[in-house]
Symmetry: C2
Subunit: 671 residues, 2 copies
């Protein structure tokens, strides 16, 4: 449908959609950067969605049963900022729109979760939003099954572009959604045929409708500028028993001289172009000026959801007090009340009946204690359930026939799994954890980074965390992956040494509200290193003195995870030679870094030589070995400086010199 | 087709395929680990492929025009080891098979490139092999177009499992192959319906045939145990004008009690199970024992290609001497003879007419000089051509209508791009480089790691390498990505400061035979820092003294890329206060680490305080700041400790304190 027909046949719609388009042009012009074309192309679709379908209430942006709207094509951020402004979200003031992409503004270049209410997830890295959306829809299904449709009963809508659909993660997401028949998930594909480099056909000939259908989706189409067609397609999609994709045929940068070109994708800042486009729109108002009738029409749309929300609140209030409190707790992300005692129970039992055990098995022991008393957990694995030890007996399997199940067989889809976990955590009411081999951190990286950037407490259960996995060889042996996760801001990397530390790590991870956790867990069995019980969570300070030197302290050995027992063996040997040696267990560098200087100095006093033992690369260790400002200690590192190899684990530790003997030799060489 | 029918109808085929199956059982039993089921399931397909279709010659495993066979489902490594052994590859001796998965053996747990001839690529991380294969097929198309079918004219065959097809990267690969109509690419899908967690349907309902067809592939089917059907499907696939996928219906762990179960995926080591399976096969020979008739039948298959190879060698020898030498050079991976002079020319011109310039633009200047004289380069971008500056005028666009084109529009597929580049580099005859934003290193990580592990000189052009990209915000701003690539063994991370250093970095990257390179390049314009010409490649030593202290050396400022000019400003301020200050430019930490200690000490002598300036996280810097053994220097770091933000670049540098003023303050605080 062209502009003339739109204006003639749907004048009210046209004006509302036009408000989005001109706000976009104005904000991009003010910032002198941004992406104009996508909001201009998808304004009609978004207008119909917000006017006729989306359940939302700007006065209560976090209402748990709201529909979720996810702008997967995050570069078109002015689309969502305009919508939030026009419908009356307080944080989306005109002032914010005028400060688009400026320091301190809520209107970041790409939509950032936590910057502005109404932005459900951070998007921009393509493919993430659509994959988050799968997690949102799974969380909704899970909560609806367990709490009833009176309390949880909403849709998840996504706007995705060709970029999202070309990213491989979208295939993983499509596969998960199709398998789970996520009928409340509706993807609006901005089918404009243009990418940054030119026409889509330069790089892709995929029939997207056939592709979605192949994975169990229902597929619909519409002219993405015709409000009647858009509305009808949305109606059909909502009634579909499967996830639905609507191919919305649109013109990028509609009405401008850059329409249908890759130029239109970017920042349209040319004054004449903007003036001509406004003229083509018949829009006679100044920059950032929305006439009263259009503004009030949009405000009416914004007011549409209040009654629905109020009715929902009444239904929630009708629940027994205990249930209401539980609902509030899980949406607040507070830990289960019994978590602390469950963890203490595991720790106590571990010390009372010590067993050699892989930390991945220890993790299963902890989860078996925690999952029954923390009903918000949802576990899973990327097709390594038996290896990641993530499935406990009580969970049941999440499935179209059992929405109450709390375990997800993600398939061989680490990236889609991570992105969906982000969506679950963002949705609220559930706390996701899932596993893969630690080396495959690589596959999940883009979403793991976003967990950290958004500040959401997803837990990544990364087993087989070193060459200790043995025969599978270097492709499966992480050596740089501890460093990679530690390099990422706002990420807790736990590498616990035994069942006690594993329990402490899980307590911290499950109590976090703003930081994701990586659990680095061994494949191989480890001797217990914590032999006396304390209720205190020693891992909470990141590092602590596990064994003190006898007599004069000459050496400090620092180790994590599977290498702590090697450090203890080295200490025994050094002490036998009269060399006083302290062993520091450092299950979480980030938490140690967050301690005050006094504590850090107490654990790592200047003077004694330091040797760190970790079956990974040295990068990240020097801070603790050498002291932050330097000149604190002489130091050495016992670990990896190359990729691993395929052989039994014991042989690999010998060959790569990660042994007590070597730690002893390194320490003595420095004395 | 069941075993009884197979034995009755195709007794010779059966015995050959059976040899693969029992060698697998024997090797897995000897190692007490591994994956039995896949080789047992795909033995018939592989036997027909090697017997009737694959062009190969065990006496010359690197013959450039051989067909390529890629085991994307790398866990089934005993399939390829058995095939290579049976057909007579010297490195695949029986001794090696007996040492499966042991230290020093060529028979690593997963097939490792460089360990055994005949293994074309390292597989194991799922989805990689099929995506590498796309690059193999593109390299073949490119070379065939440019050298003629007499010299280059082969197929690329892939065996892929459900794991490969569930990984998102496979969708990217499928999309690329479909777009480019790679008719010599044939994927044999091991359609056994089983993953580690159980049946495929636990996690996926995708109609794979429809999915491939949706991206422009031809799709065929066969009973994966019926040699006649397999042969017919391969015939059809070879004639297809599009890439072809053959769905091979198979039984995992055929003939064992674990057939068609997830147990069958893993290591079948139970003695009774193995004995029963041998009985079911009618195989009456001992472990690792292949009867003479079967061995000679396989050796005949191995001998099949010698004549074809000899005929090819004759055709090659008929080329003019110069062409032959060029062909040998590009397959040896030697740099173009004129590379050194081209680089010197760029360096000289840069110094003669200094210009403020983004290093991504500088990279384009270098490529414009290099691409015409190094015809083996193939460039590209993941839909950021104009931003990555990877396309030079002479390249032409690789496309079904122009196979001679040397520029690839990869689409929004960083991971598929990286995997395909690996395939191109492994194929030989071409040298791939391609770009994306540096933050999207995350998307390409699994393949970037494999470039390093395999030791292949792929070049990753990673522009927009810091908060200096400005308004696009934290999703697009790398802060941990320099650390991530530096943490990875065998990776050169170049962060050049100006056109001269960019030219030097490209010279090194394009001369490498065994190490991939990451070019971290700025979006923003940078002042030149190298002001006098030298033919010497100063970046080759990783770090060098860019500006010496006047008088007593009290401070050493170390910086990379866009921060080198900040360090120079800080030096000027310090020197103005009488504080002698050296500036070290460190474009490549890895190359600096590879220098002898004398050089490292010359550049970074103990004593003066050290301040590093880099717009990324500190991790990785302490080695140079504090000294490897500690107690060398007091030090500070000026960089990032959090994610970035959305605002103009200058503002971000101010707000995050990456300024000359701050570097000066940090240095003075330590004096």
């Amino acid at each position: 449908m062209d502009i003339a027909s739109l204006r003639a046949q749907h004048p009210d719609h046209w004006k509302k959609a036009c408000a989005i388009r001109v706000l976009t042009l104005d904000a991009v012009a003010a910032a002198n950067s941004g992406h104009s074309g996508m909001p201009m192309g998808m304004a009609d679709v978004a207008t119909v969605l917000f006017e006729k379908h989306l359940n939302f209430d700007p006065t209560d942006p976090k209402w748990p049963n709201r529909d979720r709207f996810i702008l997967s094509a995050g570069h078109g951020s002015m689309l969502i900022y305009s919508l939030l402004h026009l419908t009356g979200y307080k944080q989306a003031s005109l002032e914010e729109l005028k400060n688009f992409r400026q320091w301190g503004a809520r209107t970041a270049g790409h939509p950032e979760f936590g910057h502005m209410e109404g932005v459900e997830t951070t998007t921009g890295p393509l493919g993430q939003g659509i994959s988050n959306a799968v997690g949102f829809a799974m969380a909704e299904e899970s909560l609806r099954a367990r709490w009833g449709a009176k309390v949880m009963d909403h849709y998840t809508y996504v706007i995705a572009g060709d970029g999202c659909l070309m990213e491989g993660v979208s295939q993983e997401a499509i596969g998960i959604a199709g398998k789970h028949q996520l009928s409340r998930l509706i993807v609006l594909w901005d089918d404009n045929g243009i990418t940054i480099d030119g026409k889509v056909e330069l790089s892709d000939v995929t029939d997207q409708k056939a592709r979605f259908a192949a994975s169990g989706w229902d597929v619909f189409e519409c002219d993405g500028h015709d409000p009647v067609e858009i509305d009808a397609a949305l109606d059909k999609a909502k009634r579909s028993p499967r996830p639905a994709m609507i191919a919305c045929k649109t013109h990028i940068a509609l009405g401008s001289s850059a329409q249908d070109t890759s130029k239109g994708h970017g920042a349209l800042t040319d004054k004449q172009l903007i003036a001509d486009t406004r003229a083509a729109y018949g829009w006679e108002h100044g920059p950032f000026e929305i006439p009263a009738d259009v503004k009030s029409a949009w405000e009416a749309i914004g007011a549409r959801g209040a009654a629905t929300r109020a009715a929902w609140a009444e239904r929630l209030a009708a629940l027994p007090q205990g249930k209401q409190a539980e609902f509030a707790r899980i949406f607040a992300g507070d830990p289960a009340p019994k978590l602390v005692s469950a963890i203490r129970g595991v720790k106590k039992a571990a010390v009372e009946t010590p067993k050699k055990m892989a930390t991945r098995s220890a993790s299963e022991v902890v989860l078996a204690a925690v999952n029954p008393i923390a009903q918000e957990t949802i576990g899973g694995s990327a097709d390594l359930t038996g290896s990641n030890n993530t499935k406990t007996a009580d969970l049941g399997v999440f499935d179209p026939t059992n929405r109450k199940g709390r375990y997800v067989y993600w398939g061989i889809r680490e990236h889609g799994m991570a992105a969906a976990m982000n969506g679950m955590a963002l949705h609220g009411g559930v706390r996701p954890y899932s596993g893969t081999f630690m080396a495959f951190t690589d596959y999940a990286r883009p979403s793991m980074r976003l967990s950290a950037l958004m500040g959401i407490p997803v837990v990544y259960v990364m087993t087989h965390d070193s060459i200790g996995l043995g025969e599978d060889g270097p492709t499966h042996q992480p050596v740089e992956h501890l460093a990679i996760s530690r390099a990422t801001p706002n990420t807790w990397v736990f590498r616990p040494a035994d069942l006690v530390e594993v329990a402490e790590a899980w307590e911290l991870a499950l109590s976090s509200k703003t930081t994701p956790s990586v659990m680095a867990l061994s494949r191989q069995g480890l001797a217990p290193v914590r032999t006396t019980h304390t209720n205190q969570n020693l891992s909470a300070r990141g590092a602590y003195v596990l064994a003190e030197a006898t007599g004069k302290r000459q050496v400090i050995l620092i180790a994590t995870g599977s290498e702590v027992e090697i450090a203890l063996q080295a200490r025994a040997a050094l002490e036998a030679e009269g060399i006083g040696t302290r062993v520091v267990s450092m299950p979480c560098m980030e938490l140690f870094a967050a301690q005050d200087e006094a504590y850090r100095k107490k654990v790592l006093p200047a003077g004694p030589v330091r040797v760190a033992v970790e079956a990974g690369v040295r990068q990240g260790w020097d801070r603790w070995l050498l002291g932050e400002r330097g000149k604190e200690a002489k130091a050495a590192f016992v670990g990896m400086s190359s990729f691993g190899a395929s052989a039994p684990a014991e042989r690999l530790y010998q060959e790569f010199g990660i042994t007590a003997d070597n730690a002893v030799a390194q320490a003595k060489a420095l004395l």
